[in-house]
């Protein structure tokens, strides 16, 4: 089985799990409603006949045979005033409901997720139509369940409810109900033409239909349009989708996340339109190697994992969650490289793991990495380079330190294109940090001020406390001495002193 297929299998597995889970929920609710409606009918049957002589005879059993006459008893009991039989129209409605619910139960127990998924390459109108069909099917189930619950509680009133339910459909479902709907999935490969794909996705999402779009990518190399040499190119990135569409659930994840399956499950069950962006292996990539690549990509902020759940909280920052990433409060994670100091002794060198460091080990970036020139005086580290102004960067070559094969440290130089992507990624990561409330300039200023103030106050408090304690100790000492003296006097004189 090809690795991509395997990856798709993993996603497919998650989708199937969600699908079956929700179908089971539907099944349970349908079964329950059918049972309760049947109980209504059974009760009605019982009420109509329970005072019939033969029913009485059966209920009373053999002991009554010699003592009771079912005919007389039936006459005595039958004089009951209150009529308890269900009205014929209601009876018909209930019977019809049971039939419909039964059919739905049958249909949904045989339903498979394939019917609710489509490739994004299809025509937009076709996608919308298929999604609409799926949602309407579900809408009908909920409609019938709601009607059933009203009937069971004898609250269904033809005059009002017939109209209410005539045009009932999926837009009328509550978020909690949507959460229980089997998902409709749109599959997209976003390696190529990501801008257009993104626009198509947004167009689909704008319809408000609670569909889920699975955006799969395996390559992390961006190709920028020619005239973008500044730090921030003008192309859109999928990671900032939440800013553009604040009502859309967004999940970006990979196998590097320990709870990958759980994240998928949550994403697929969100009661909103959602986008799930997943890093996939390449066609020829082996699973273990891909796992390593994914982890490195995440570490280098090449593929930051985030969850944006609009329902989680009221404030945007609380809805965006970067905690799946290693060291989310830092810009970079660090590598520890083995090196040698001036004396040649082995030391450990901390090196920030940037996008370029990641790229250096990836085949698709091979063209962007080169050996450093013999003369090294215009080489600066990538992290420094990223912090330089345009003027400062003139003629400088950014390099990265990597662990060499023989335990030494080697340097590689990054091309301008790579440096650009590096800068872009750094900016994006910073943006995500700020949006999720981890850090921003305002926060830092407040923090420093508070620390200073707090520090001073604490000092004062401690001093105060110390003074109090010293006073108290002195007082106790005095009391103890006085008490001892009194006791001594009493013993010597034999006279009990009055209690102080």
């Amino acid at each position: 089985m090809s690795p991509v297929f395997a990856m798709k299998e993993q996603i497919r597995q998650a989708v199937e799990d969600v699908w079956h889970h929700h179908c089971a929920t539907l099944d349970e609710a349908l079964a329950e409603s059918i049972g309760e409606l049947n109980d209504l009918l059974r009760l009605d049957e019982y009420n109509r006949h329970r005072h019939d002589p033969d029913q009485l005879e059966r209920a009373l059993g053999p002991f009554a045979e010699t003592n009771l006459d079912p005919g007389s008893l039936s006459r005595v009991l039958g004089e009951s005033k209150r009529s308890q039989a269900i009205a014929p129209e209601r009876l018909k409605r209930v019977q019809a409901l049971i039939k419909t619910l039964g059919e739905m139960k049958e249909a949904w127990s045989n339903a498979a997720p394939e019917f609710a998924s489509i490739d994004i390459a299809k025509d937009e109108s076709e996608i919308r139509e298929l999604a609409g069909e799926h949602l309407n099917r579900i809408g009908r189930v909920f409609r019938t369940l709601r009607i059933a619950q009203l009937e069971i509680r004898s609250k269904y009133d033809s005059k009002t409810h017939d109209a209410v339910f005539a045009d009932f459909n999926w837009p009328k479902l509550s978020p909690d109900e949507l959460r229980l709907c089997p998902p409709f999935l749109v599959m997209a490969r976003t390696d190529d033409d990501s801008g257009a794909q993104l626009r198509k996705m947004m167009s689909l999402l704008e319809s408000g239909m609670p569909i889920k779009i699975a955006a799969l990518r395996s390559s992390l190399r961006e190709v920028y349009p020619p005239a973008s040499e500044s730090n921030v190119p003008s192309t859109m990135k999928i990671e900032t989708l939440p800013l553009a569409m604040r009502g859309v659930y967004f999940l970006q994840t990979s196998v590097a996340a320990p709870d990958f399956q759980k994240q998928l499950f949550e994403g697929l069950t969100a009661p909103r339109p959602g986008v799930i962006s997943i890093l996939c292996p390449r066609d020829d990539e082996e699973q273990a190697a891909f796992q390593r690549r994914a982890e490195r990509a995440v570490r280098a902020r090449a593929f930051p994992m985030c969850i944006y759940d609009p329902d989680r909280a009221e404030r945007f920052v609380m809805c965006l969650d970067l905690s799946s990433n290693p060291s989310p409060d830092a810009l970079w994670t660090t590598d520890t490289l083995p090196g040698r100091d001036a004396e040649g002794q082995p030391v450990e060198v901390e090196e920030a793991f940037t996008f370029a460091h990641f790229a250096a080990s990836e085949a698709e970036f091979a063209a962007e990495i080169s050996e450093p020139p013999a003369i090294a005086d215009n080489l600066i580290s990538m992290t420094e380079y990223l912090g330089y102004s345009r003027r400062q960067r003139a003629r400088k070559l950014p390099f990265v330190k990597l662990a060499g094969k023989d335990g030494s440290i080697v340097r590689k130089v990054a091309s301008p294109a790579l440096a650009l992507q590096c800068a872009d990624r750094l900016h994006l990561w910073r943006t995500l940090q700020e949006l999720s409330g981890i850090d921003n300039p305002h926060v830092s200023t407040t923090r420093t001020t508070l620390e200073k103030e707090f520090g001073a106050e604490r000092q004062a408090q401690l001093q105060n406390l110390q003074q109090e304690m010293e006073k108290d100790a002195a007082r106790r000492e005095q009391v103890a001495v006085a008490s001892a003296m009194r006791k001594l006097v009493a013993r010597l004189t034999g006279v009990e002193p009055p209690q102080a």
Partner: protein, 318 residues
């Protein structure tokens, strides 16, 4: 009921919205100034807050002034016999565990004639709100001494003064196995009363609440003239019963950990000042009806008949 079905019930509009009046069935006939009025109002407010259907709630009482409450609350009420509200409530819980139950008793009804049932109900930990309206006297029968009547007090059966120290029901409750909730409040602290009853409602288990109450006709001087001169201390805890700032003029607050049974027992034993608030709460004790229902199998009719046949076969001879 499954979650989805419950959702459909709510979304379909099958659940009505109720006003306070929906929970009153007839005008109460208690004396003017009787604290029972306040308890009734509190209960109505709680039922409205949780938007319960009146037909789904059962209230059970014994005999006494306070036991008239089910007559005035618009629920399915059972006004039974003296001291026996708790067994009846247990029967309701065991057979219809989906119906919430409120038990209302007086001090004589619960602590005296109903004492045995009281002790065991705590151990059963049936899921119910149990309110004892303690006015320290038998009022309906026109003033006899009750287990909580203070020492020396004159009543019709103790015309020369009560002989014994009054019982402290709080310490009794804390001494019983499986106790899961104990709170004390008073009718002259209406905000506190409301919060206490709501807390009792939220708790899953036997929520025992002692409500101090002054009978304006037979015990006008009780509780320091109805709370004016009655030392109390308000137990305070983040998850306890909130202490409204206005209450502070009645008494001080005291931090209390109601999850710690030893602390709770210490508080329960203290009578002066009277501890008001949540004394003990343990949400982890299963209720008796849960335990019994979980052990029970509910077979369909065919299986029922098959099993009955098998049971009879044990005695079949040929």
């Amino acid at each position: 009921m499954s979650t989805l079905a419950e959702l459909c019930v709510i979304e379909s509009g099958a659940v009505d919205s109720h006003s306070i009046d929906d929970y009153e069935s007839e005008k109460p006939r208690w004396c003017k100034g009787c604290g029972d009025h306040g308890v009734l109002a509190s209960l109505q407010r709680v039922l409205r807050k949780y938007n319960l259907e009146p037909e789904e709630v059962v209230s059970v009482s014994g005999i006494g002034c306070s036991s008239r409450l089910p007559h005035y609350l618009n629920t399915y009420g059972f006004h039974g016999i003296h001291g026996r509200a708790l067994p009846i409530a247990t029967g309701v819980r065991l057979s219809r565990p989906e119906l919430p139950v409120i038990v209302i008793m007086g001090d004589g009804d619960c602590f005296s004639i109903g004492g045995n049932h009281w002790l065991h109900a705590i151990r059963y930990n049936i899921n119910a709100v149990v309110l004892v309206l303690d006015n320290e006297v038998y009022a309906l029968t026109k003033m006899q001494v009750s287990p909580t009547t203070p020492d020396g007090w004159k009543t019709k059966t103790t015309p020369r003064g009560n002989y014994l120290q009054p019982m402290n029901p709080l310490s009794v409750v804390m001494g019983m196995t499986n106790v899961s909730f104990l709170a004390q409040t008073a009718t002259w602290l209406p905000a506190h009363l409301d919060e206490t009853i709501e807390k009792a409602w939220e708790h899953h288990g036997l929520s025992f609440v002692r409500i101090l109450q002054r009978c304006p006709v037979f015990m006008p001087k009780a509780f320091g003239e109805g709370g004016l001169n009655f030392p109390v201390v308000f137990l305070e805890n983040e998850n306890g019963i909130p202490v409204h700032p206005l209450l502070l003029k009645r008494g001080e607050t005291q931090a209390h950990n109601h999850r710690d049974i030893n602390d709770a027992q210490r508080v329960a034993v203290s009578v002066d000042p009277a501890p008001m608030g949540l004394i003990y709460r343990n949400p982890d004790i299963p209720s008796y009806e849960e335990i019994r229902w979980n052990r029970q199998d509910r077979p369909d009719h065919r299986t029922f008949v098959e099993r009955l046949d098998a049971a009879i076969d044990r005695y079949t001879v040929s």
